[in-house]
Every structure is written in structure tokens, then in C-alpha cells.
């Protein structure tokens, strides 16, 4: 037994570890199953490895999941497509395990293999497997079966096709809701392979059964597939068969079903012509926008722009806009936030006049919303409105909103607005920015919360990039450098952070003349935290400035710090010196 030659040693360990007690090692071996297969050769992989895997399938779920995934790409290792069917056995067992993610992966791998298999093998090997699973004693097998029909069906002869359709019909009426859920969510895949005549008869019958299921969760998934199914049908069939169901669902007793409809409605519109949209879907959508459940209104409000895009502007103004007005005053802040995140997109659809007349008041009221997320969502999409109405009209209301957000008591809100400052700067232009927002940017540098000070420093860097070093020299640098005299050491630390970020943007010359002296000065600070941050900043500036400056200014400063009484300061100073040496050596 121990006759393995030295070069084979690693692979021998790998094989032995397929059965190790340590799950991590088993997992490693399974992940490298392809290596094991190549070492054994195609013949022995088929005759030994695959049966071995089929027998040892009561392992931990993590291992089974990995096995299910590996087997999906195993066709080359068993000798190509003509031998692909040997992989079905282990995957069939994996399709019956209790853990959903393992089953899903096994089904995915089976689909991958099935789509490569020869027609004959599909009929003789794959389809029987699907039938076995569909008739499985436990629901887990039947759940998996639903996801395989679309592979088995196309190559089956006529009688077998009839049988498969009837089996699927039974799965749609299974006792277990889990099976019906799986049948509902896979129906559109199966439908895509079924001939048009049977699609209209059998599949639509199954669809209708599922849409009348008494389990909300089954109906829910039936809705989800609606749009995909609708696209397979001719528009008139879709209007006749799917549309009534959707309209019905949009008034379902369960808010979750209506929520799903609100999410799906837009996609279904693509499958239908303009006429049914106007007569049926539009009223349904308007109802959803006015639903009494906030969750449904959130979903509907989030689609308002997309829906308007497929309507004519007149219809949008006539039917959707009144709802949008109501939603902007909705009692739920989440509905208003959802609306705020998309409502900007309506501007190009409605055109300039309607936007100024109707939409602008809505923007403005949302900008003054008491809930910060709503205001933030509007501001984040500012570029879209800007294109239509220009910043002048907006700036008047925009500024108070921004200032208020900038001083919001929740630091996350302040953080969010800081992140939009570069976008605002870009949209508003230098002039407006200097007047109104410059002060805020400086104010954030001295915020009570570290994350805000840090974000403020990064923001300065973005602004310098946006408006150029000259502007920064005039509007940022002087104010920032003043902080050096601040009595609070945390503020002085923020200054150092800002300098390390600004240095690369400002370039060597300004860094040497303006920034570096401040840093060197700070190395004489009485607080050790400042001093070791000086060491860190100096290290980051090495690449920005000339070699001569490094030697003349940075190195002496670091040397001095490396003799500091504080151990941390010495540590970072020595690190800095080391990186100087590295740069010198490499150049």
C-alpha cells in the first residue's frame, strides 16, 4: 500500500483526504476532484471515482455542495460527451438531499451536462432520471425534478413529450407547497421548450392552476414568471390569457402578491402591445400606486419612471403624474424615498414644459422632506434634472436642502451628502460652489465624528481634482493650513490626513513649498499621535517630491523622530526611513 513513488505523493494525499475526518481537508480534495480524475485517467474515473462519489453521499452539506459544483464541469474527465451519462448517478442523489443550495447546484450541474449530452443519451438516460425524481418519495426529489424538464423535453419523441407534460402538470398540483413553488418558478423555462400548440393548451392550464393556488407563496412565484411566459406567447394570446390574470393579481387579497405585480408589471408591458397597456395595465398600475399597503406603493413608486417611458407623455401626464403628486406627500417615508430615487428620470420623458410646471414642485417638496433619505435620493440624481431645467431654477431650493443635510444630526446623513459634493460641484460650477458650499467643506474637517472628518479630507482631494490645483491653491489650501494652529489635536490630525491626500493632486512644487513645511513643523507637536502621523505622511510624500527634497527635508525630520521617546513614533519614523532607502536603492 505504501508503494507510492515520491512524485505521486501529493496526489496520493489528496485522494486519501477524500475521506479525512477533517471537513476542511475533504472540501479541499473535492475542490480538486479534476486533478484526482486526471491522475486516475478517464477509464478509472468512470469505473471507480464516480461510483465512489455516488456511494459516499451522506457527507456534510458544504462538501456535497462542492461536489455538485465540480461534477457540472466533469464531462472532459470522464472521457467526453459520449460518457457524460455516468455523471448522472451521483448528481441524481445530490438532487434529493435536504439542503436547498446543494439541490439547486446539482440541478444546475445536471442542466449543464444535459445540454451537452447526445440526443440518444438524453432520451435513454436523462429523461428517465427526470421521471424518477418527479416520482420521488420525498418532496426534495420532486422539487429538483421541476428544474430539469426544459433540458429533457426538446429531444424527446412525441409520446414521451406528452408524458413529460402530464408529469409536470402533476407536479403543479403536488401536495407539498415546496414542489408547487418549484413548479411555478420553473414553468417559464419549461414553457420555452414546449411547442406553441401545447403551450397554449397544457402550459397555460398549469399556469392558471398555479395562479389559483391557495398558498400565497405559490401564487407569488406564478406572478414572477408571468412576464417571461407572456413573452413566449403571441401578443394577442398574451393579452387574452396572461393579462386577465395579472389584472386579477393586481387586486389580490395578499399584499405580497400585489407587491410582486408592482415589480413585474413593467416587464409584462414589453410583451403586450400599446392598446392593452392603455386599457388594462395602466389602470392596474395606478391602483397599485394608490395601494393601501406601503410596501406595494414602494415597489410601484420605484418603477414609475420605467413605466412612464413606455407610455405616451400625454398618458403619463394625465394618469401617472397625479399619483406621483400624491406619493410625494405619502405618509410613509419609505414610499417617498423610493419615489425620490426615480422621479428625476421622469423629467426627460415629460419634456421641459411639463417638468417645470408639474414635476418641479414635486422635486422641491421632496427636497424639503423631513426625512433625510428622501432629500439625499433627490440630490443623488441631480444631473438628470439639470439636463432638463438647468441648475438656476433649482439652486434656490437646493441650497437650503444641502445645508440642512450637511448639518444633520445623524452622521451617516452628513457622510452621504459629503459623498455627493463632487457631483454637486460638477453640476453647479465653480462660482456657485465658492459662494455657498466652500464653507461647508471646511466645516466638516472639524466634525465631531471621525468618519466625517476623513470623508471631508477625501472630498477636498476630489474637489482639487475637479477644479484643478490653481483653484485649490486659492480656495482650499490656505484654509486647510490654518488648522495647523488648532488647539484640538484631532483636528490637526485631520490636517495631516488632508495633506497626504492633497499632495499627489497638487504636485511636487506646491507640496514642497506649502504643504511640507507644515508637516515638518507638526513633527515638533507635543502629542505623540501627531508625530507618528507626521512620520506616516512623510512616508506617503516620498513619491510625490524630488529626491533632493527627500534627502534635504524629509530624511532629517524622520531621523529626528526616530529618536523620539515614544515607541510608536520611533516605529513609524524607522518605517519611513526604510522606505526612503528602498526608493533610493531602486532608483
Amino acid at each position: 500500500m505504501s508503494t507510492v513513488e515520491a512524485p505521486l505523493y501529493p496526489i496520493a494525499v489528496l485522494i486519501d483526504e477524500l475521506k479525512n475526518d477533517d471537513i476542511q481537508l475533504r472540501l479541499n480534495s473535492i475542490r480538486r476532484l479534476s486533478t484526482i480524475a486526471r491522475a486516475l485517467g478517464e477509464d478509472r474515473t468512470r469505473s471507480e471515482l464516480i461510483p465512489f462519489l455516488s456511494e459516499n453521499n451522506d457527507d456534510d452539506d458544504e462538501v456535497l455542495l462542492a461536489m455538485a459544483e465540480e461534477l457540472g464541469v466533469f464531462v472532459p474527465y470522464v472521457g467526453g460527451v459520449e460518457h457524460a451519462h455516468v455523471l448522472l448517478t451521483p448528481l441524481e442523489t445530490l438532487c434529493t438531499v435536504e439542503e436547498t443550495c446543494v439541490r439547486d447546484k446539482a440541478v444546475e450541474s445536471l442542466c449543464k451536462i444535459g445540454s451537452q449530452m447526445r440526443e440518444n443519451d438524453l432520451i435513454e438516460r436523462f429523461t428517465p432520471l427526470v421521471k424518477r425524481l418527479a416520482a420521488g418519495e420525498w418532496f426534495t426529489a420532486r422539487v429538483s425534478a421541476c428544474g430539469l424538464f426544459h433540458i429533457a423535453y426538446p429531444s424527446a419523441p412525441e409520446t414521451l413529450k406528452t408524458e413529460l407534460r402530464s408529469i409536470y402538470g402533476q407536479l403543479c398540483q403536488d401536495d407539498m407547497p415546496m414542489v408547487r413553488r418549484s413548479a411555478a418558478s420553473n414553468l417559464w423555462k419549461f414553457a420555452g421548450t414546449v411547442e406553441s400548440a401545447h403551450l397554449k393548451a397544457d402550459i397555460m392550464q398549469m399556469f392558471e392552476d398555479l395562479t389559483q393556488d391557495d398558498q400565497d407563496t405559490v401564487r407569488l412565484l406564478a406572478v414572477e414568471g408571468c412576464a417571461a411566459l407572456g413573452k413566449l406567447l403571441e401578443p394577442q394570446d398574451c393579452a387574452a390569457r396572461i393579462l386577465p390574470v395579472i389584472v386579477n393579481f393586481s387586486q389580490d387579497k395578499s399584499w405580497r402578491v400585489r407587491y410582486m405585480v408592482a415589480n413585474q408589471l413593467y416587464e409584462l408591458c414589453e410583451a403586450l402591445g400599446p392598446e392593452p397597456i392603455r386599457t388594462d395595465l395602466l389602470p392596474a398600475y395606478v391602483r397599485l400606486l394608490r395601494d393601501n399597503e406601503a410596501e406595494v406603493r414602494i415597489a410601484a413608486a420605484g418603477k414609475v419612471t420605467k413605466f412612464c417611458q413606455i407610455l405616451s407623455p400625454e398618458l403619463a401626464i394625465q394618469h401617472i403624474l397625479p399619483c406621483v403628486k400624491e406619493l410625494s406627500l405619502d405618509s410613509s417615508q419609505h414610499v417617498r424615498a423610493a419615489l425620490a430615487s426615480v422621479v428625476m428620470g421622469m423629467a426627460p420623458v415629460l419634456g421641459k414644459d411639463a417638468t417645470i410646471e408639474q414635476l418641479l414642485p414635486i422635486f422641491l417638496s421632496l427636497l424639503k422632506d423631513e426625512f433625510p433619505d428622501v432629500r439625499l435620493n433627490i440630490i443623488s440624481k441631480l444631473d438628470q434634472v439639470n439636463q432638463v431645467i438647468g441648475i438656476d431654477l433649482l439652486s434656490q431650493s437646493l441650497l437650503p436642502a444641502i445645508v440642512e443635510l450637511a448639518e444633520d444630526r445623524h452622521w451617516r446623513v452628513r457622510l452621504a451628502i459629503i459623498e455627493y459634493i463632487p457631483l454637486l460641484a460638477n453640476q453647479l460650477g465653480v462660482g456657485f460652489f465658492d459662494d455657498k458650499l466652500g464653507g461647508l467643506c471646511m466645516q466638516w474637517l472639524q466634525d465631531k465624528v471621525y468618519s466625517i472628518r476623513d470623508a471631508a479630507a477625501k472630498n477636498l482631494k476630489h474637489l482639487a481634482e475637479e477644479f484643478g490645483p490653481d483653484w485649490a491653491m486659492q480656495h482650499i489650501i490656505p484654509q486647510v493650513l490654518e488648522i495647523a494652529n488648532d488647539s484640538h489635536y484631532l483636528h490637526r490630525m485631520t490636517l495631516l490626513r488632508a495633506i497626504s491626500l492633497l499632495g499627489p493632486v497638487m504636485g511636487s512644487e506646491i507640496t514642497c513649498s506649502k504643504l511640507l513645511p507644515v508637516v515638518v513643523n507638526a513633527s515638533k507637536d507635543r502629542v505623540p499621535n501627531i508625530k507618528f502621523n507626521v512620520a506616516k505622511v512623510l512616508q506617503s510624500l516620498i513619491s510625490v517630491v524630488d529626491q533632493s527634497v527627500v534627502e534635504k527635508t524629509i530624511r532629517p525630520c524622520l531621523v529626528e523622530l526616530s529618536e523620539d521617546p515614544d515607541v510608536d513614533v520611533r516605529y513609524f519614523a524607522v518605517q519611513g526611513l526604510q522606505s526612503i532607502d528602498q526608493v533610493t536603492m531602486s532608483s
Binding site: E5, P10, G41, D58, E98, P177
Partner: protein
């Protein structure tokens, strides 16, 4: 709703009272043996088929029992039924396995100890012969899978284990830093091995020899950090996908597969805790309507809510309350009105609730008052003051319904439990003691004419206590209370817990 059908189609007149007999006991106490606190049973639950029974205890353990009598006798039973012979088989169980579900914990943020005591157990859908169940203590719900696993004995390795160890701990599973191992498993970056086309004949796969199996319980998921207060109930939905957990003030909805998020569907916490007048005491999903659930309150009301109406179900669809009898109000009225447990009947039409004094059966289509009320503790009314002083008045008794919905049962003091017939016209009211001789108490009854249940002379005053059982009410022992019991889903068999012992009866 076909709940009434069984009652309607039942043969004329109420069903005959049942003759209860002792079946089994697990963990019986020997005389003088002291009960360990951790061994006290705190939850009992049959699975849907009735083939399995689970108990939880204060020590955080879950014990599983399996039925032994059915499998080989199914055919026989059918024959017997056809020939209308009485079936003398009754459910018998044997110990299957046990596992430690919860451990004591300490919440450092709130400086609170979290007991390991199992508050509730609920069975989930069986799959592939593996059993699944949910168990919960005050804060954390766990999803368990109990399954037979092969005991692996490996032979025919490529490398002899002792030799491999000699070669630098290669096979030692714990040492993942060993150099050879890195070579083996670390080469994922590329196909660094080149093999001859036919493969390497000297390599062999390990051979697994032993086919022995043993039961293994594995915790699959932990649903934690969603409850600020103590969890009193968990309940599975009929959709097989979701379940709820209820604490004093909130009910959360979970997906079985997702343990890191839950949705709050009921929140009765007032903005100001000083305004708090009512807490949630129990909650259960409807057995077939996936959108319907009921929860009970400390004020004695049951609310039925419809999950379809709204995401946050603060407004109930129906409220079930018994109008207070005028003039009967006392200091204890509200305390004894508090509902300790609610259960849906199997058909979903009726609900059973237990408060301190009574069992009440409700029709979900009738919210004006209960269909019937069964007095369980009426004889304790004069002693409410004492019960209040020793806290017994806050004991939470569970209740259960038979699978056919014809009878209800609940526990009492002195290890007694009571069974009532709830079919219209039924006067059945039986008191049993959780001991090997359940009828012991009745035998002492002088006024009782006969133990023969077929006797029409049997007099049971419905509602009021039969005098003998409770006449010597003074002897009632408030320390031995029978809080937990469960009715077999398909047969007339009851499992109940008396301290650390599990008694089973059949009729």
C-alpha cells in the same frame, strides 16, 4: 370551512367517553428520588404523523422518541378495521436519541443570564428520512436535523497512516501547515501535475467498509438576536417555508432557510412602556391557511390576523373576547383571564385557549364568545389569594385537542390532567393522574358509581368539579403541576410531563 362536518356526521349522540389506560412512562421517579431542576420537562410535541415525539427540558436538552408499534402492523390494522374488531394496539414509543439544543448564555450588553430551558419545540417537514425540528429558549431559535449517518471505517489508503505521520504529519488532519499538505492542496493555481493519458495505476481510492449507522443531530441554523423579550411561542406555517416566533411584545416572521433576517409582523409595544397594559402570551399559525395566525394576550383576548392585509399587522382581523360578567370583577379578574396557551384544531375551524380557571373552545367564525367553556380550576376560586401569594396563579398551563377535534385536554395541580368531550351534547369530563394508575384518584371517590365507561349510569357533572376528585381540595399540591401535555395527532393517546417523567396514556 368543513370543521363542523365531523361533528355533524358523527353517529347520533355524542361519542362515548373514553376509557383511559396507562401506556408507558419514561424517566419514572423512584420513591424518594429528588428531581434535578435541569431534568424537568418544559416542552412536549408530537410530529405531524405521530410517529415521533420530542420533549425539551430545563437543561436545554431535546429528547426524541419514536413509535414502535405501527410500521409492521398497518396491514393488520386495516383488516381489523374492516371486520370491525376493536383494535387493541395503541401507540408505543421508544427512546430514539437526545441532544443538547441550548446552553446557558450570558448577554453582556444587558447583563442578563439566558437560561438554556427549552420553551417550545416544533417539528418541521421530514425529508429523506431525516427529522427536522425547531427548538427555542428565551432568546434563540435553532433548526435541528437528526439523521442516521454511516460510521466510516476507511481501509486501503494510498499511504499507511502511521507511515504518513512519520513522513511529516501529512495525514494529520489538524496540521494544515505541513509542507506536503500545502503541495497537495495548494496547487490550485494551475495544472501543475502532468499525468500520462491512461492515468496512474498505482493510485487507489479509499475504501469505506463499515456500514454501521448512528443518529447524529446537527444544528443547521440559528435564528438569533431578533427578540428583546422572552420568546413564548414558535409556530410553523403550512407553506413549509416560514415560521413565526413570538415574545411578550412582538411577533417575527422567518424564512426557514434565512437565519439573518426576520420581519416584524406584530408589534404591541407602546411608545411609552408605562402605557403597557397587555402582552402577547402565545401565537400559532392556522393549520391550513398560510396567511392566518392567532395570538393570545394577557388580558384574555385572542386576535386573529390576516398576513395578506398589511406588512405590519397591527390591526387584527378578528378579536375573540368573552364579555365580562357584570359585578364579578375582583383584584384577580385580569390575572386569571390571562391566556397561557392557544391551539388550533386540526381542521382550522376551532381554537382552544387555556386561562387559569378554564379551557375555552372558540369557533373562528364566531367572535362574540366561546362555543364552550370547561371549568378546570373552579374549586380554586376561594384560594386565589394564596395562589397569588405563592405565585402559582401565574403558572402557564398548556392545552391540546385530539386529532378528531372531539376532545380537549389540559393540565392541573397534583399531577392531574383533565379531558373534556367538546362534541355537542357530550358530557365527558375525566380527571386523570400522571402516574401508572391514572384512575387512582377516581377510585377513592365514594360518590362515583362505577368505573365502567359504558355504563349509562355514569354521572359526570359537566363544568363543575366531580365532587370526589376535588372535594379534598386541600390536599392539592401546588408544587406538582402538570403544565405540558400533547395529544397524538391521529389516535387517542396523550403524552404529559410530570416533573422529569414523561407519562403516556391511551384509550
Amino acid at each position: 370551512m368543513n370543521g363542523g362536518d365531523e361533528v355533524v356526521t358523527a353517529p347520533a349522540g355524542p361519542p362515548q367517553p373514553l376509557d383511559w389506560k396507562f401506556s408507558q412512562v419514561f424517566g419514572e421517579r423512584t420513591a424518594g428520588e429528588e428531581v434535578q431542576e435541569v431534568d424537568i420537562i418544559s416542552a412536549i410535541e408530537f410530529d405531524k404523523t405521530g410517529d415521533h415525539l420530542a420533549t425539551g427540558d430545563r437543561g436545554g436538552r431535546v429528547v426524541l422518541f419514536e413509535r414502535t408499534d405501527t410500521k409492521d402492523h398497518d396491514a393488520l390494522r386495516r383488516d381489523l378495521e374492516r371486520t370491525d374488531h376493536p383494535i387493541n394496539r395503541h401507540p408505543e414509543f421508544r427512546y430514539k436519541t437526545e441532544f443538547q439544543s441550548h446552553e446557558p448564555e450570558f448577554d453582556y450588553l444587558k447583563s442578563l443570564e439566558i437560561e438554556e430551558k427549552i420553551n417550545k419545540i416544533r417539528w418541521c417537514q421530514t425529508a429523506n428520512r431525516a427529522l427536522f425540528l425547531l427548538s427555542t429558549n428565551d432568546k434563540t431559535i435553532k433548526f435541528w436535523k437528526v439523521q442516521e449517518k454511516k460510521v466510516k471505517k476507511i481501509s486501503e489508503m494510498n499511504l499507511d497512516p502511521p507511515k504518513a505521520v512519520g513522513n511529516g504529519c501529512v495525514a494529520s488532519s489538524s496540521n494544515s501547515n505541513s509542507p506536503t499538505l500545502c503541495l497537495a492542496n495548494g496547487g490550485s493555481s494551475g495544472n501543475d501535475f502532468s499525468f500520462p493519458p491512461g492515468g496512474l495505476p498505482s493510485l487507489r481510492l479509499p475504501v469505506v467498509t463499515s456500514q454501521e449507522t448512528n443518529l447524529v443531530a446537527r444544528c443547521r441554523r440559528v435564528y438569533a438576536h431578533a427578540h428583546d423579550y422572552h420568546i413564548n411561542s414558535i409556530s410553523n406555517n403550512s407553506d413549509g417555508e416560514t415560521f413565526i416566533s413570538a415574545d411578550d411584545l412582538r411577533i417575527n416572521l422567518w424564512n426557514l432557510e434565512i437565519s439573518n433576517q426576520s420581519f416584524n409582523i406584530v408589534d404591541v409595544k407602546p411608545a411609552n412602556m408605562e402605557d403597557l397594559t397587555e402582552v402577547i402570551t402565545s401565537a400559532e399559525f392556522h393549520p391550513t391557511h398560510c396567511y392566518m395566525l392567532a395570538y393570545s394576550s394577557s388580558k384574555g383576548s385572542i386576535r386573529l390576523i390576516d398576513l395578506r392585509q398589511s406588512a405590519l399587522c397591527d390591526s387584527h382581523a378578528k378579536l375573540f373576547e368573552e364579555p365580562e360578567a357584570p359585578g364579578s370583577r375582583s383584584f384577580f379578574t385580569e390575572i386569571i383571564a390571562s391566556i397561557s396557551d392557544i391551539k388550533f384544531a386540526k381542521d382550522g375551524r376551532y381554537m382552544l385557549s387555556r386561562d387559569y380557571m378554564t379551557l375555552k373552545l372558540w369557533d373562528i367564525n364566531m367572535d362574540s364568545g366561546p362555543v364552550s367553556t370547561f371549568q378546570v380550576h373552579e374549586y380554586l376560586r376561594p384560594k386565589l389569594c394564596d395562589l397569588y401569594e405563592n405565585d402559582s396563579i401565574f403558572d402557564k398551563f398548556e392545552c391540546c385537542l385530539s386529532g378528531d377535534g372531539l376532545r380537549v385536554a389540559t393540565g392541573s395541580y397534583s399531577n392531574l390532567f383533565r379531558i373534556f368531550g367538546c362534541a355537542p351534547g357530550s358530557t365527558e369530563a375525566t380527571t386523570l393522574e400522571a402516574s401508572k394508575n391514572p384512575m387512582r384518584r377516581q377510585v377513592q371517590t365514594p360518590s362515583r358509581p362505577s368505573r365502567s365507561l359504558s355504563s349509562i349510569t355514569r354521572v359526570v357533572r359537566r363544568g363543575a368539579e366531580t365532587s370526589g376528585v376535588d372535594a379534598n381540595g386541600n390536599s392539592f399540591d401546588f408544587t406538582t403541576k402538570l403544565l405540558h401535555l400533547a395529544w397524538h395527532p391521529t389516535e387517542n393517546s396523550i403524552a404529559c410531563a410530570a416533573a422529569n417523567s414523561l407519562y403516556m396514556y391511551y384509550a
